[in-house]
């Protein structure tokens, strides 16, 4: 039996683009590069309007430890530094750069391979390259590579599960760049002194499992594991549970059980940064769904607007009525196609009207489906009820903060209750209360 966790669901996979090789799209005339594309403090602009930049030029400096620098993804001239639409919601500060189409990189001719350097040097290089988790959460990678004193990490897991429907970017990367991904994994293991490496891949990608297995055949310490096709198989805690049997304690981090999880795309980015000196200026984006003309996997420069990417993918159908950044389970619906691709943009799903559901939530039937399927084993129906009634303390006691917003509860709910929406409200309220309390004490 394939390894897995308890709970979860199996939505239609809709991997329309699994057989589409990664294609590089034509460059946009301009890019909009947000200063905040990662968890943590936004970076601070280091360029002025009118300044010339090259591909890979640093345009924003990291602010504090949990932050990364930002780089230009085109060569050209800084046009403006202002607030621009951001795929995570409200407009945020970004640097607009006019592309001179010369496609000129910063000088990398003196770059020396850093894959064999000291852990500290590697961490610094990874940070300098602006690398964050590319699975979607966009947490700065160098932070994960720097466990605090006393925490040992013995197991590094590469996440190739790609459990969200539609998305196929990781799948393609594993087929097209297996050596680089594995090399990246070796580096991560070395930095952390981890003896064990896993690459977890859902069984709906047998070609990727074969390819990766073949590459690590002679490697004692790295194992490729086929995982049951079930959402959210790629969620950190579920992946760790499936592969190692360990349970990350509530409120804790993977390192509390000696594990570190990185997306396969991140591993590829690490390899590129160390081997070639290339900062993170592009990523694979799956463009898919019922309302896009040529669905595919595209290599896209960070900062390219969605509209340009969609145009390059053949354009959208008249009837497109929803654009989602990310997968359909956890992705974010966009107000406009003028938002830029950011480091966390794993996909763009365009849905036509008949695929867009507008459900009126009904009363909870207490059917228990959400309880049966919640991968964190919470009681979503009760937590939702508490939030609705403003009983936030009870929502907290029932574990609202352990919820990862995977959307499984809402997916299975016959009453179409918007659990995730309610949980976000509840969590925001808890955060606000805590800030207030901290303010009082201080």
């Amino acid at each position: 039996m394939a390894k897995t966790f308890r709970g979860g669901v199996h939505p239609p996979e809709a991997k329309l683009t699994a057989s589409k090789p990664i294609e590089t799209i034509a460059q946009p005339d301009r890019v909009i590069i947000p200063l905040s594309q990662h968890t943590g403090a936004p970076s601070k602009p280091t360029v002025k309007v009118g300044e010339e930049v090259l591909i890979g030029s640093k345009i924003g400096e990291a602010e504090g430890f949990i932050s990364v620098p930002t780089h230009s993804s085109v060569s050209g001239k800084v046009k403006a530094i202002a607030n621009y639409p951001h795929p995570l919601g409200r407009p945020m500060p970004a640097i607009e750069i006019e592309n001179d189409s010369r496609d000129e990189w910063i000088d990398l001719s003196h770059w020396t391979d850093l894959t064999n350097s000291s852990p500290d040097e590697i961490r610094r290089a990874v940070r300098e390259a602006g690398i964050v988790g590319l699975g979607g959460a966009a947490f700065p990678t160098h932070v994960k590579l720097s466990p605090p004193e006393g925490k040992t990490i013995d197991t590094v897991i590469l996440n190739g599960a790609e459990c969200e429907p539609y998305l196929t970017g990781d799948h393609r990367l594993m087929l097209e760049h297996p050596d680089e991904i594995i090399e990246g994994l070796r580096v991560i293991m070395k930095v952390l002194g981890a003896a064990r490496g896993y690459i977890g891949i859902e069984r709906n990608k047998p070609d990727a499992i074969d390819k990766m297995s073949e590459k690590v055949e002679d490697e004692e310490s790295i194992e490729v594991v086929g995982l049951k096709v079930k959402y959210p198989q790629g969620a950190e805690k579920q992946l760790i549970k499936a592969l190692t049997g360990r349970e990350v304690p509530c409120g804790g981090l993977p390192m509390d059980v000696g594990c570190l999880v990185q997306n396969v795309g991140t591993s590829y980015a690490i390899w590129q940064a160390l081997k070639l000196g290339k900062p993170l200026i592009e990523r694979v984006v799956t463009v898919s769904g019922s309302a896009v003309k040529s669905p595919g996997n595209y290599m896209v420069r960070i900062g390219t607007t969605f509209s340009h990417v969609i145009e390059q993918a053949g354009g959208m159908d008249e009837g497109c009525s929803k654009i989602i950044m990310g997968g359909p389970m956890m992705g974010i619906a966009q107000h406009t196609d003028q938002v830029p691709v950011v480091k966390g943009t794993s996909g763009m799903i365009l849905l036509s009207a008949q695929d867009v559901r507008i459900d009126e939530p009904g009363p909870c039937l207490r059917c228990g489906k959400c309880v049966d399927h919640c991968p964190m084993r919470l009681v979503p129906n009760e937590i939702a009820r508490f939030v609705e009634k403003g009983r936030i303390a009870e929502a907290e006691a029932y574990g609202i903060l352990d919820c990862m917003e995977c959307g499984v509860c809402a997916y299975v709910c016959p009453s179409k209750i918007n659990h995730v929406h309610l949980f976000k409200i509840g969590k925001a309220e808890i955060a606000q209360r805590r800030r207030k309390e901290a303010g009082k004490e201080g």
């Binding site: 304690p249 009837g319 959307g407 016959p414 976000k424």
Partner: protein
């Protein structure tokens, strides 16, 4: 860009199952037993089922109009209440009785609490309990024999349902003053009740009883459908029926471990109750452990009422009593969260 984009919270895809599909799946699952009821007890049964259903639906519409709430009769839940109430009535009741029961079920046990999803007790069972308390004669004496069999399913005695016969026999055997003749007669009744002919009648439904409860095979067909569709889960029915089997085996005979569990499982309203009423999602626990506790609780109460109580059957009251405990059960049976260390 031309059209306006829809912005809704994630997830952006949902399972097909919705409230209506859940409810009409239950209706569909009850249809074999309804047909069985009409086959065994005649057109009377059909009239009672239709009367109870229409009354339930009409009451819901009228009540919701009266309190200016959206009318939700199309969701199918009132229909289920009507059918289940009719299933729990003897076939000989006057035709106004199901109507009164349905009105009470919806107007008292469902709407005042906020309608579907908020009622703490199963409305059909409340309706039945109300009828039993108000018109006990109709509710306990209007049994009719099935068209091709006898009320008891055995030939020796024909004036009581199988559980009625069992109650009578136990009464005699537990009474120290009865003579040896009576004891041997009672034992022969018991032997007949436990005979394969009797068990076959119980399984097929060829015995007296409430309209929808007698045919175990037809109930199981509907239940299998709901189990396969994932609308109900095995936890409540299995723990309920298992507990009744265990307790009637231990305590249901003269001396410990001399009971005959198969008879108890097949007779009365146990199968109907375990698969279609105890599993009512609104009034049963949501947690996996809670479901088992709930089923075991129903099983204990049913066994106690059947073996020691004043009524021959105790399924309805057992489920109603356990309904009350649901909030408490749910509170104390929350699953261990992933990564939670108990007691820390």
């Amino acid at each position: 860009m031309s059209a306006k984009l829809t912005v809704t919270p994630s997830p952006h895809i949902r399972d097909d199952l919705d409230i209506k599909k859940v409810m009409y799946a239950v209706v569909l699952a009850l249809i074999p037993s309804a047909i069985g009821g009409v086959y065994f007890f005649g057109l009377r049964a059909l009239v009672i089922i239709v009367a109870a259903s229409l009354a339930a639906i009409a009451t819901e519409a009228v009540c919701q109009k009266a309190i200016r709430r959206p009318v939700t009769i199309s969701d199918g839940s009132a229909l289920i209440t009507g059918i289940l109430l009719a299933f729990n009535l003897p076939p000989g009741v006057p035709y106004w009785l199901p109507v009164v029961g349905s009105v009470f079920a919806i107007a008292v046990a469902k709407i005042p609490f906020g309608g579907l999803g908020y009622n703490p007790l199963n409305p059909a069972l409340v309706g039945r309990a109300f009828l039993l308390a108000s018109w006990p004669v109709y509710m306990t004496t209007t049994w009719t024999a099935p068209s091709r069999g006898s009320l008891s399913g055995i030939s020796a005695i024909t004036t009581a349902t199988p559980l009625g016969v069992f109650k009578y026999v136990r009464h005699i055997l537990d009474n120290p003053s009865v003579g040896p003749d009576e004891i041997s007669r009672a034992n022969s009744y018991l032997a007949q009740l436990y005979s394969s002919a009797s068990l076959k009648n119980l399984f097929l439904g060829n015995v007296g009883g409430c309209i929808g409860e007698t045919s175990v095979i037809l109930l199981l067909i509907g239940a299998a459908y709901l189990l396969i569709k994932g609308i109900i889960c095995w936890r409540i029915p299995l723990s309920y029926i298992g507990t009744v089997a265990l307790l009637t085996w231990i305590l249901g005979g003269q001396g410990l471990f001399h009971g005959y569990p198969l008879f108890h499982v097949l007779s009365g309203g146990l199968v109907l109750g375990a698969f279609f009423m105890a599993t009512d999602m609104v009034t049963s626990p949501v947690t996996p452990k809670g479901k088992i506790i709930f089923g075991v609780g129903c099983g204990i109460l049913t066994s106690v009422i059947r073996l020691y109580g004043g009524y021959p059957e105790g399924v309805s009251y057992s489920i109603l009593i356990m309904n009350i405990t649901v909030p408490l059960i749910d509170r104390y049976t929350r699953p261990r969260k992933l990564g939670e260390v108990k007691g820390s």
